[in-house]
Amino acid sequence: MMLTVKGKILMTVLTVVLMFALFILFYFPARQEHYLLENYNEEIENFAKTVALGVEIALTEQNYDGVETAIDFVRDDERLVYVSLIQTDSISAPDGSNLMVEKKVINSFPEDVKVNPNAVSSELFIIKSAPFSTPMMSGEILLSFSTEEIIKSKKQIRLTSLIASLVVFIIGLLIGYLLARNISKPVLALRDAANRVGEGDLTQSVDNKSRDEIGQLSVAFNKMVKDLGIEAALERVRTKALAMQHSDDLPITIASLLRELNHIGLASEYSGIGIINNKRKQAEFWTTINPEGGQDALEKGKISLSGHPFLDGMLYSWENQEPHTYILQGDEYHDYYQLFESSGVKLSRDAIKESSSQTLQFCYTAMFPAGALTIFRSKPIVETNSHIIQRFADVFHLAYTRFQDLRNSEVNVREEMKQASLDRVRGEIASMRTKEDLSEITPIVWKELTSLGVPFIRCGVFIVDEVRKSIQSYLSKPDGSSLGVFNLPYNANDFSKMMVDHWRKGKAYQDHWNKDQFLKFVQSMIKQGHIKDEKTYQGAASPPESLDLHFFPFAQGMLYVGNTTLLEDDDFQLVHSLAEAFSIAYARYEDFTKLEQAKNKMELTLRELKSTQTQLIHAEKMASLGELTAGIAHEIQNPLNFVNNFSEVSIDLIEEMVEEIAKGNDGEINLITEDLKQNLSKINHHGKRASSIVKGMLEHSRTGKRQKELADLNVLADEYLRLAYHGLRAKDKTFNADFNIELDKDLPKVNVISLDIGRVLLNLINNAFYAVSMRAKNENNGYIPTVMVRTKKLKDQVEITVKDNADGIPPDVLDKIFQPFFTTKPTGQGTGLGLSLSYDIITKGHGGVLKIDTKVGEGTEFIIVLPE
């Protein structure tokens, strides 16, 4: 069975009381009765003794009256039942061993009573005997007393006990009840309060003024609940802080914090939070007199933290991050609120005065790194509570840190959005190609203003055309779609004049129109024929009540943003950026045609260049062919001369032989025959020589696909060395140089395009001859211009070197030597393609290597290495 505290206490008390009552009821009367009986017995025994003594004396003196007198001692006692004088005789038992006592009643009072000398006490009678002994006789006095009195007394006692126990019981019950109530009430109150606290109601406090343990418990409980309340309040603020998703949510947290401060009773009047700017000695703050009003009741303002001892002290304490306490009173109080009025907070002085009936305020400020939390009270704070403000400040620090993080990330996000937006504007505007595309300007601007989060209701772009002295106006409809374009001459109206004026100065321009001004402008536009009717203008059919116009200049015109209020600084900056992005993009659009033209021109130039390049390459080929021609002519001329000469000589010889045959001069005939034989082989040799040169020339001039075939590089090297030499010789009569050739007899045939390798050799050899001849012109003393061509078998490779003993190639030239069109020859003498083509032929065409080994002042060696 569950018992309440009250029940338990009551039970306890009742048990005790019951025990006591029972004690009174039973034990006490029992004891009383016992004593009563004992006393009675004693009294009777004494009576018996006294009577026995009297009888003894009387009998000793043999005064029988004396016996009576002795008996008289009890005779009149009302309680007496009887008194007997009994003689006791000791007689021997018949067996003679024992003495037997024989009792004999001598005398009794009342006489009629029948006395049993051996009677013992019963409930109704108490029988006592007292012995006496005289020489005459021995006996005893037997007294029997009625217990009637005793029984009466007993009844009396029981009654009294019953009454007493009843009284005790009732009193005990009463006390028990009161006690139980007294104890259980605060306990129950504590229980109930604790239950409610458990249910989340932290407004509970237990009213118990007693100083007993329960009283102390109540105090402890109240403190605990209060602490819990503070913790919960802090937790709520913390939760609000953590729930902030956007930097705009900061006021929610602030409002929550101020409300909690109010709830826990710390801010008895009002409180505020300030973010301190130490450089400017200024604080941006939020405050409210009505903390229950939440975010809406919150007022935001700025206050200078200098010029008032309270604020000076606060700033100083903030710098040291120490709590600050100040009592505002008297003039300082008034000064402070005067200063406060300048903060821009609508929290009126009256309201503050109202809230504070006296001009005395206790100001407690707790610091956090970014600012301070101040509460204003009409009464000083309990010392033990002062740290709570700091805890709130600490929680707010948390909130403010989160706010800063949020703000930073928002700045980043916004910056990213801004960049993305600007990029889109750049992209979209720059991708515009035609006049028709331009009609998309306003929707784009509209879209990006929206995505930038700039508040606006109208937008547009004005492109200033200085040539036509007009403004191309692209304006939005109220729904964001394009209104199309209309042209506004510079001098159309004050508005256009103002716009051009500001644009020229590169200045932003702001104006404010009310409904009438808007309509007036529209009317003037209609009158001048710039717009057809009201509907075609920016929603003039339903004009805005109030319109703030902002014009942002950019290189080609003005960007227009219309809003119901003036734009904030941030938005102003954003639109500026947009205008700049727009400008760049628009410039790109404008340049597009030019660019397109330029591009076409470039492409044409490129085509021309390519064709020129082809021509140049051809020219290089032709040039080398030209160089060859003279050499070839000479090379052909020589064998042909031999052919002619040997054949002519042979004719003579035959004539001579005929003569000798006639003479029969056999010896001479034989000699002539030998000569003829030799001549014919010479003719054959030189004929072949000429034909091979012709073949080579044909190959050199042949175009089209050429096949790689096994070629003897020794032959090639020899042939081209000679061709080059004679070619140069033919071109420049003054040219002369020594040349020698070292051919490796073991050189294997390699798979090459002979003609290409020939060209390379020709080019290298020509260059070598050119170089040595240049040095020869400048140097006379003993310089022998020499060009050496050498072939050599390497492991898996063949090497052809063309070496000269000219001046060598300086490093700065060496770097560029394989670049196309690079030449050290005077203008017109070289195409600058020779080495470049040679390089390509060897490396790309044949997978070989073309190296240069040069030493300034000593000469140059070009080394061709080709895979076998």
Binding site: H634, Q637, N638, L640, N641, F642, N644, N645, F646, E648, V649, D652, L653, E656, D675, Q678, N679, K682, H685, H686, Y725, H726, R729, A730, K733, N736, A737, D738, F739, I784
Partner: protein, 125 residues
Amino acid sequence: MKILVVDDEKDIQPLFEQRFRREIKKGEFKFVFAYSGEQALVYLEKYKSEAVLILSDINMPGMSGLELLENIKQKYHRPPPVVMMITAYGDDDNYKRAMALGADDFITKPVDFGVLKETIKSMYE
């Protein structure tokens, strides 16, 4: 009469030997051959004044005929050897330079050996 022929074409030797077969046979002419200007100078140094006529090609690798001519005309004054230049490139420039250097004749290839024979003969008659 000893004639030094200078030409880098070695076949010039059999050609001359056959062209002047009769003259050689008769002992009228005696030919020596040099295949470069340098060789010619070496020969001239060795057999001073043996050759009375020098026929030299102009276009030769190394020392050219004109250089040889210049050398000869500078070194050998007494008796001055007759130097005739033979060239495939019978252009003005070469001719003028040869003449300026003191060439006694200037023959253009292809050589007309009949004319050459007459020229040589007339020179020593």
